[in-house]
């Protein structure tokens, strides 16, 4: 092909439309970086409309009577903290504000119990709650299916001690919680398939009502449990966390992060549209070229 051809792919003769399809990735990365940083420095305060699932999540937690025991699994890895931690913080604040008693645990061995300990202590401290009386952290035990089923019969068999090594018989809260019969509600925060197991093993067998906060990529799958009423509410990703923060009136990290997420999504859509525009223009021109591909 000659360099004068608009659909030419040689570096010297690349057309505007061709360049539109092959922008250097460093430029894309810089734009993404800017889209994340700028709203953090100068918040845009974009409105976050509430979805029915988030509203249902809030209503379900809000309707639990004060003093009830809530099981709070911290089933997420440190890698997804940006999405899951705001949900966990908002959930803990909502529960503590309503004077619910929290039994924390984790089915993620690497980091789960440590994150649970940090969040329970810091948010519990905000509301002047006492460890062992208002909240406990059972920690982690291997083999989630055995843990989930076994707690239905006797929690002390699965967790003889809490995360700190205290026998759970010595914790005032756990003296009244021998198994699921004493648990009113389950509030799951998860970034993996644990939601499926909570639904299949605990909701189906023991009939415990539950809500879940999950990462955005997991939300479409978890939505099926909302329609079947196996989950009473759902928070999907940072957007779900931001909605929940606003419903509880405690706007925090997720609300601030939504501006950045919104801009990045918008930028990705622009990139996709840009690439496709270049692709279609070049394809259109190639179809209308005479045989040999050279313009007269």
């Amino acid at each position: 092909m000659k360099s004068g051809n608009r659909a030419d792919h040689t570096p010297a003769g690349r057309s505007f439309w061709d360049r539109l399809q092959t922008v250097d990735r460093r430029i894309l990365y810089t734009l993404i970086f800017a889209a994340v940083i700028i709203p953090v420095l100068w918040p845009l305060h974009l409105p976050t409309p509430t979805t029915p699932e988030s509203q249902a999540f809030f209503n379900a937690v809000d309707s639990i009577p004060a003093g009830s025991v809530v099981l709070f699994p911290f089933d997420f890895w440190p890698s997804t903290l940006a999405e899951t931690e705001p949900m966990a913080i908002a959930g803990l604040r909502h529960c503590f504000r309503k004077n619910l008693r929290i039994v924390g645990l984790s089915n993620v061995g690497m980091g789960g119990p440590t994150i649970a300990e940090r969040l329970l202590d810091s948010i519990g401290g905000e509301y002047k709650k006492t460890y062992g009386v208002d909240y406990v952290n059972l920690g982690y035990k291997a083999n989630y299916s055995a843990v989930l089923l076994g707690m239905g019969t006797r929690i002390a068999d699965i967790f003889p001690t809490d995360h700190r090594g205290t026998p759970i018989g010595d914790l005032p809260l756990m003296q009244h919680v021998p198994n699921y019969d004493s648990v009113r509600f389950v509030l799951i925060i998860s970034d993996n398939a644990m939601v499926d197991y909570w639904v299949a093993l605990v909701n189906a067998r023991f009939g415990l009502p539950m809500v879940a906060g999950v990462t955005a990529v997991m939300a479409p799958k978890a939505l099926s449990y909302i329609q079947s009423r196996q989950l009473l509410g759902l928070l999907g990703g940072m957007k779900g966390a931001a909605e929940y923060e606003q419903l509880t009136g405690l706007a925090d990290r997720a609300t601030r992060g939504m501006d950045a997420q919104s801009l990045v999504h918008f930028l990705i859509i622009l990139f996709v549209l840009m690439g496709n525009t270049g692709y279609f223009v070049i394809r259109h021109r190639q179809r209308h070229l005479p045989l040999g591909g050279v313009r007269p």
């Binding site: 979805t51 890698s79 939505l223 279609f280």
Partner: protein, 206 residues
Amino acid sequence: MKTRLPVVVAFVSGALMILSFFGRGPLVDSASEVALTWQTIVGGFSLLLGAVSIVRVHWRRVATRERDRFYSLSLLVCFVVMAGSGVFFGIERGTVFERLFNTIQSPMMSTMFSLLAFFIASAAYRAFRARSVTSAILLLTALVVMLGRIPMGQLIYSQLPAWADWVMSIPSMAVQRGILIGAALGAASMSLRLILGIERTYLGRG
């Protein structure tokens, strides 16, 4: 005996779990309680087995001076430091383990995950082309859902969130349910094969 005993153990454990799922009673409850306690103990040992295995593999790489032995060495050092700090000084708040986790491991894992935003943006830009009718439908649907799930989408067109919700709760849900039901049926049939001793590959033979 080597074959029969594991098959009998699998049958008894599996049958007990099925019984305990569909009905509760003192006998079934106490038997399943024992089985589940054993299961958590076995789970603990399998974690230990995993730890031993990873140490052996990487130790061998270091000992035989393989090309990427420094990665293995760094893994071994991190493993020893984290495990040692947890075992000898505890894992509760304020301990060395907790500080190492919160200041090194957790930020590193979050950093790795956050890099995904850059790669996804680049990959979407390069690979997401409407080359056929089906890929055009996929592209349009993705754009509607992505725009509908962010505040900016509502500012562009007020009905976009409703469209995105429709996509999520009708067509996407139909597919999700199909996958879920298929996977559940597959898991149930595989479990039955294991319980009845038809599937014996876990014994190390076909």
